[in-house]
């Protein structure tokens, strides 16, 4: 099996990166987990925790869909339904999608992709994880309080979220959990930015960084711009609830819509904070499995940067129906975002064009991402137009739109796990189970979103536990529930696959004949990541090393680079407290 999956085995085993001459000695077991500052272990903890959150949030979704399978379902009470859709959204957005990408995969992959020994601030990185874990626990603790979990929707709109309309500990736990995870995101943003700016390997210029790293840089900058606003808003909300301020209530001269401004000023960049890492994953995967460099590398970078730039000016398209926002400005800005996104889709197709396609699970997931994201993106363009938004606001059309987007991200994220899983653990995942998971996930996604588009255009409002007895609506809701069940089964297949493939198919250093620096080191990478580094002359150093006959064209200056001597063993020294002797002055943390 491993050989079938591993056509590049001879290339990968050509000797570089082997010889475990520098084993790391430290605490083991639970103490290792608690005290580690290694970005790979922290990233793995993040990944496992966020996948657990995906399962919890998915369970909420299955209960919601079971309730909606019939017009007057009795599975949950109306109050429980409010808690379920609130916590489904909260868990998926705050605790799964973001942390999975920027805390999980990016944490592991970005330092290795740029040839860094660790994140710039390893202890801050560990603190991020602990804040994320405790934030998740805090938010979910709401289910164990007498009043139940938060039930004002994941957006916590102002008059509804005050202490009169939503009393109880659940809402406060929601606020507290978000404060913790918000700080964890900010610290991760600081860490990623500093790592990318300061810890690149020699020759790894900015315009040679892999697209995934570029996307994570823009994501990190967006985190720094957006999350402090949410944290400030949450503190204001808490003051309104407990200290008698009237920031969001008209009674004391406050402005309820201010909450929406603050929330969406975080919330829309957050959409790109969620999406950009997954765009990066899909870009890497499509390039590797087409055996081509990324088509239009620079346009890809500028598209990412312009998505980041525009994302700060589109927040109020969530607030068109409030009647107090500047419609043309936000409509124009939102429509403009379609341009860089279109460039990205064009480049993904360009990367595959006349490539040597290899339909592994990761590639199928990325293609599924492309298709599903296109549907979600195009319906987003409709919603950016105020007349259409007035018609569809708060209906299932909006629900279907953003579920197309986030399910596309789940597809890309699963692709990322199949693609980078071998690098992280040293073992491949089973491809047959992976393909079964892909088809169920992909078809299930379409089956559950398409009926919702039609329901939304028919006028079915979101967040309702009951709906009128209409045979067509019942039929569409049944289909939607069937799709949700398919998605649920696909997640079970993934968990089964992880269990089944556990230490079964050794991966080798570079099982996919991939291009970027993380595939140059061992799987899993050693402590501080590299024994040696190749010469970096393009955005695909590992490919250049493994295929000297098909070198990439060097970016920028240095076109004569081909004639330089073979890579010298990197003499990069990493000082480690208490391990190596050496000067400890100038510690960078």
């Amino acid at each position: 099996m491993a050989d079938l999956l591993n056509p590049a085995a001879e290339l990968a085993d050509d000797g570089h990166g082997h010889g475990h001459h520098e084993e790391h000695h430290g605490p083991t077991g639970i103490l290792k987990w608690m005290t580690t500052t290694d970005h790979k272990i922290i990233g793995l903890s993040y990944t496992v925790t966020s996948v657990a959150m995906l399962v919890i949030g998915g369970l909420f979704a299955e209960i919601i869909r079971a309730q909606l399978a019939t017009p007057d379902g009795h599975l949950v009470s109306l109050a429980q339904y409010n808690e379920l859709f609130t916590m489904h959204g909260s868990v998926m957005i705050y605790l799964f999608a973001g942390p999975f990408a920027f805390g999980g995969l990016a944490n592991i992959i970005v330092p290795i992709q740029i040839g860094a020994p660790d994140m710039a601030f390893p202890r801050l990185n560990a603190l991020s994880y602990w804040l994320y874990l405790t934030g998740a626990i805090t938010m979910l603790l709401g289910f164990f309080t007498s009043g139940g979990a938060a039930n004002f929707g994941w957006v916590a709109y102002a008059p509804l979220s005050n202490s009169l309309n939503t009393p109880g500990a659940g809402a406060d736990l929601w606020i507290g959990g978000l404060l913790l995870t918000g700080f964890s995101a900010i610290f991760t943003g600081v860490n990623l930015t500093a790592t990318i700016f300061y810890l690149r390997a020699p020759g790894m210029t900015m315009f040679r960084m892999p697209i995934f790293t570029w996307n994570m840089l823009v994501t990190a900058i967006l985190i720094l711009l957006a999350f402090p606003v949410l944290t400030a808003g949450l503190i204001m909300l808490y003051c309104d609830r407990h200290f008698g301020t009237h920031i969001f209530s008209t009674a004391g001269g406050g402005v309820p819509v201010l909450w929406q401004h603050i929330f969406w000023f975080w919330g829309h960049p957050e959409v790109y904070i969620l999406a950009l890492p997954f765009f990066g994953m899909a870009t890497e995967i499509i390039a590797v499995f087409s055996k081509k460099p990324v088509f239009g590398y620079k346009s890809m970078v500028f598209a990412t940067l312009s998505i980041g730039a525009l994302s700060l000016g589109v927040w109020a398209h969530h607030m068109f129906t409030t009647g107090v926002v500047l419609l043309p400005f936000f409509s124009i800005m939102s429509l403009l975002i379609a341009v860089p996104t279109g460039i990205k889709i064009f480049n993904w197709i360009g990367t595959m064009w006349r490539g040597e396609l290899w339909f592994s699970t990761a590639m199928l997931m990325s293609l599924g991402f492309l298709f599903t994201f296109l549907i979600g993106g195009l319906t987003g363009v409709y919603l950016a137009s105020p007349p259409l938004d007035f018609f569809t606001h708060d209906t299932y059309f909006v629900v279907a739109h953003f579920h197309s987007i986030v399910m596309a991200l789940v597809l890309a994220g699963m692709g990322g796990l199949y693609f980078w899983g071998p690098k992280i653990t040293g073992y491949m995942l089973n491809e047959r189970l992976g393909k079964a998971q892909f088809w169920l996930l992909f078809i299930g996604t379409q089956v559950f979103t398409f009926p919702q588009y039609i329901l939304g255009l028919d006028g079915m409002p979101r967040r309702v536990p009951l709906y009128i007895h209409n045979p067509e609506w019942k039929m569409l809701n049944e289909w939607s529930t069937i799709g949700a069940v398919m998605v649920g089964i696909s997640t079970i297949i993934f968990v089964v696959n992880v269990g089944y493939s556990w230490k079964r198919y050794p991966a080798g250093d570079n099982p996919w004949d991939a291009q970027t620096l993380e595939w140059f080191t061992t799987s899993p990478p050693p402590h501080h990541n590299f024994y040696r580094l190749p010469q970096i002359r393009s955005e695909r150093p590992t490919w250049d090393y493994n295929h000297p006959e098909h070198k990439s064209l060097a970016h920028g200056a240095g076109a004569g680079a081909e004639h330089q001597p073979t890579p010298l063993a990197a003499a990069v020294t990493v000082l480690e407290h208490g391990q190596d002797e050496g000067p400890n002055e100038g510690a960078n943390e």
Partner: protein
């Protein structure tokens, strides 16, 4: 360093232009203030990087022709293990629980947080690990 500076400065410039257009057109203050702050957040590190990039030698990672041996030397000082992030995380957890369940949670929360602050600082100075 120049590319890093240019990215942040051009993002900041874009936010500034967007802020000016939006604020003058809508006369709505919340968004204007937030975009202005976004501009400052990009200009602050961006101008610092720009200032430095004109005064420093080209780093090996910015030189397209550098070899790996040019990066030889001390990259930085990385702690191998540390218990203090966990302690600080738990401290923050209890402080947040104090917001919800009662002020007495502040006692273990602040105790852990202060211990972790002091411990992490001492660890950084001493250069030793736990």
């Amino acid at each position: 360093m120049k590319v890093e500076a240019k990215i942040l400065l051009s993002l900041g410039t874009f936010f500034g232009v967007m802020c000016a257009v939006y604020w003058n057109w809508s006369l709505e203050n919340a968004g204007g203030v937030m975009m202005f702050a976004g501009m400052l957040l990009c200009f602050l590190p961006g101008s610092y990087y720009y200032w430095w990039s004109r005064r420093m030698k080209v780093r090996p990672e910015d030189d397209p022709n550098s070899t790996q041996s040019e990066g030889a030397g001390v990259v930085g000082s990385f702690p191998s293990t540390s218990i203090f992030p966990f302690m600080l995380g738990m401290g923050a957890f209890f402080v947040v629980l104090a917001l919800v369940f009662g002020i007495w949670f502040l006692v273990p929360g602040l105790f852990l947080a202060v211990w972790a602050f002091l411990g992490a600082t001492a660890e950084g100075r001493r250069g030793g690990h736990v």
